[in-house]
Structure formats: C-alpha cells, structure tokens
C-alpha cells in the first residue's frame, strides 16, 4: 500500500507524544490535585474555594465580564462586519487589514495604552477636569470599566473576522429580497442575517468569551488587586500563599467554562435550525 499505516504513525506520533508528555500529563496532574487528600478522593478543595466570599465575587465577575465583552463585541461586530462586507473590494481589504492589525501587536503594548488614556493625568481625566465637570481626577484605572474596555479592545477583532467571513457567504440578493417583501431592518436582522451567520457568531463568541476569561495581562494591568479576575486570582494564590489547591480549582473552572461556552453556543446555533 502506498500510504503505509505504520509509516504514518511514525510521522504523527512524535508530535502527539511531545504534547502528551510535556503538556497534557502535567496539566492533568495539576487538575487532579484539588481532588486528592490524605484519605483518598475529595471535593473539599472545591467546597472550600466557593465558601470564601472573595472567590465567589471573582468567579461571578469573570463570568460577567466574559459575557459582557462577548455580547458587546457581537453587537459592534455585526454593525462593523455588515459595513465591511458592503464596501468595495479594495476598501474592504484595507479596512479588514486594519481590523486584523491589532492582533499582531503585543497585548502588553495594547493594554498599556489604556493607562495613558484612563490614568490620573490621562486624556479622559484631563478633559473632565478641563471642562470643569470635576475638580479632581476621577479614578478610572483599576475599575471593572477599565478591564472591560481593555478586554473588548483586545478581542473584538476576533469577532469581526468571524462575522465578516460568515457574512461573505450570505447570497447577495437575500437581504434586498427580504426588504422588497416588506421586512423592516429589525426583521431582516433577526430572520435573515442572524440565522445565516450564526456559525460565525458561535466561533467569534467562543473565541472572545474564552479569550476574556483567560486573559492575564489586561486584568493585571488595568484591574490590579482591586479588580481580580480568575487568572489574576490564580497567580496571586500561588505567588502569595503557595496555595496550589485553589490554583487547581481555578484551572478546572477556567477549562470547564471555556468548554461549556463552546457547547452552549453550538447548542443555541443548532436549536434554531
């Protein structure tokens, strides 16, 4: 046979073994750590974790910010993607390039810019004080709003890219046809555009939501210890308290949340078919 199975395995296995030994095994052991105690298997690590009010607050905040960022990115993303798809071919390429461009820039650089914008002597505060709206600068950094803006800016391109490629596949005449037949723009969106682009929404939504959940730099720089998210909490637990059980619990929560978001969105997308 031309493509011999054994030969194929010899080619594929080095990569698989590498990922298995250096990646899946260590992560697996880390995840199992919270389930182990001196007298066998236990859920105590999880019970203790959720018993602390701070941990519950951080968990709910991470979930809330993830949903808010993904939701806002979807709303802006649909508007932007719709405009991009309707541009002339050359303009479309240029605008699309500008949307992709930030993805190539270091997240540290992109997040750092928000310090310049939102800091005590930043643009926003200078304007507020300059206009006499407030006598003293307002605290904008280390708030949930700052983290929200940073995350939205970081991950919105992923949503726009997914939605643009979904919208490019809508047949040209469908929207004019719906309009001619009397649909208003509201109906066009919910009855035509949304059903035809929901796969793009699922991909974009999963990318943005999991991106926001697992971002470290943005909550670290813009939230600090005042606005902890699960990732920054994990770092703090390990570095300050050597608390590996909490780290293992948070790791599991992050992985479960990412997977369930993907499953849930897929569910929603197929349910309406």
């Amino acid at each position: 046979m031309f493509f011999d199975t054994r030969e194929g395995l010899a080619l594929a296995l080095p990569a698989a073994i590498f990922a298995l030994l250096l990646f899946i095994a260590p992560v697996g052991i880390l995840l199992s750590e919270a389930f182990q105690s001196d007298n066998g298997w236990t859920l105590q690590g999880y019970i203790d974790f959720f018993a602390k009010p701070l941990n519950r607050t951080v968990f709910l905040r991470t979930l809330k910010l993830g949903i808010l960022v993904a939701g806002t990115a979807a709303v802006i993303g649909y508007a932007a993607a719709f405009c991009i798809v309707n541009l002339s071919a050359s303009a479309r390429g240029r605008v699309f390039g500008l949307v992709v461009l930030p993805l190539m820039i270091s997240p540290v650089a992109r997040t750092y810019a928000w310090i310049v914008i939102l800091g005590r002597t930043g643009i926003v505060n200078d304007t507020i004080v300059g206009l006499g709206l407030s006598d003293t600068p307002i605290r904008l950094l280390f708030t949930e709003t700052a983290v929200f803006l940073g995350l939205l800016q970081l991950f919105m391109p992923l949503m726009i890219i997914s939605l643009v490629s979904a919208m490019e596949n809508i047949p040209r005449d469908v929207i004019p046809a719906a309009r001619v037949l009397g649909a208003n723009w509201f109906q066009v969106f919910f009855k035509v555009i949304l059903p035809l682009t929901k796969e793009g929404l699922v991909v974009g939504g999963t990318l943005v939501f999991t991106g926001a959940l697992t971002a470290y730099i943005t909550p670290a720089i813009l939230g600090g210890s005042k606005v902890l998210m699960l990732e920054t909490l994990l770092y703090q637990r390990v570095n300050v308290a050597n608390d590996f059980v909490s780290a293992s619990v948070i790791a599991m929560i992050l992985i479960v949340m990412s997977f369930s978001a993907n499953l849930l969105l897929k569910r929603i997308a197929t349910a309406r078919k």
Partner: protein, 258 residues
Amino acid sequence: MRNLTTSTILGLTLTFLIGPFIIIIFAGASAGETLAFPPDGLSLKWYLKVFTIESFRESFLLSLFLAIFGTVTALLLGVPAAYALNRYDLPGAETIRTVVAAPIIVPGIIVGLALLRYLVVPLDFTVTMALFMAHTALVLPYAVRVVSSSLNNLRADMEEAAVLLGCTRMQAFTKVVLPNIRGGVLAAFILGFVTSFNQVPVSLFLSGPGVKTLPIDMLAYMEITYDPSVAALSALLAFMSLSIVFVAERLLGFSRYV
C-alpha cells in the same frame, strides 16, 4: 445617508481598535519624564533609552531565542504530523488531532504552572528549558493547523506520480510536497513567532531570577517606574511585528493562510 452611517460605524470601530496604538507611539516620544498624552514636547530620548536598559536587552534575546527555536521545533514535529494526518488512514487520527491541538484550548497560565510544578521542580529542568518546551507546545497547534490546510489543497497523486517516476518516498516529499506547501510552512512560522514572542501567561510562572521573557520584563518594569520607556518599547515591538507581517504579506500573501 447609507454611506455616512457606514463611515461613522467603521470610523468609530477603527478608532477604538487602532487609536490606543497611535497614543502609545506619541506617549513614547515624549520629552517629559512621566507618561502623558498629549506628550510634553517631542523627543526620541525614550526610544533611545530602551536600548540602554540592560535587562530589556537580555529578555529581548531570550524572547527571540524562544520564538525562533520554539517555532522551528514545533514545525519539525508539526509538519510530519500534519502530513501523516492528511495522507494516511491512521487509527485514532481524531485522538492524535485532539492531543496535538490541546495546547490552544488550555489557558496559558495553567500550562506554565503545571510545567513548573511537575517538570522544573521534580525533574530538574532548567527554567530556560521549560520555557522552550512550553513555547514549542504552544506553537504546535498552529503549525499543524496551518500546514494541514495547505496540504489539503495539494493532491496526493502528485507524490504517487513522483514515486512511480523513480523518486524515493523522501525525495517525493522534499521535491514535490515541500516546495508546494512552502507558503503554508512560512505562514505557520510567522504566526508561531508572533504568538510565542507576545506570549505572557505561559511564561509567568516559568520566569525565574535573571530569566525573563521580554513581555514579563516589561510588566515588571511598569510596576516600578512610570516613565515613557515602556511605551516606546511597546511601539518598537509593534513595528517589529507589523513589518514581519507586512513583508510576509507582500512576499506570499500571508493572510490566505491564517
């Protein structure tokens, strides 16, 4: 009316996405001592100062080393794997695919912590070695995915023809397959390089005293000093990434592969 709405929506979106980047460039070009926008006068002193900071030079070299060698190793593992998954009817192909793609799904901070706990501490790996492993694993999914999609567009009977005409299997691969997927391999390299170079969470726990990747070093520097040098460095790095992508786009239409 339609046109006005379109330009408003796109204008606002792009300002939000690109604006902060422009602010960084100018904040780094400040003549003053503290971070501000608009800057207190313009000068290039912070852009020049970046090059004189010893720890930035060291961490830049480490990041460069990790990005280049990590990505090359990932390609050495990933290209044969992608080839096998595309051409051969493998038992458990789906499992292999999932295992190889796993590093993209698990949050980086967990990977870093797991490697530190179970490889560096008990097995006496050096921190640099662990960082190298982590960055390789991180890039592996991209290498397999991008090379796979370029292999999909290449018909398998070309290799069969080459073998029938007298090539060995290895020659068929190097003379027929490789030249045809060259663009995909290069695209995977660039994507891997940029991903690895900008990576923070994986390196967070794995950075030790004296061994820091550049983004980690920048985070540490920011905590002590508020001067514009990090802004200047951010702008320089952004230019570096953008020029790489721009050259790649011009040479081989990089965006087709991503």
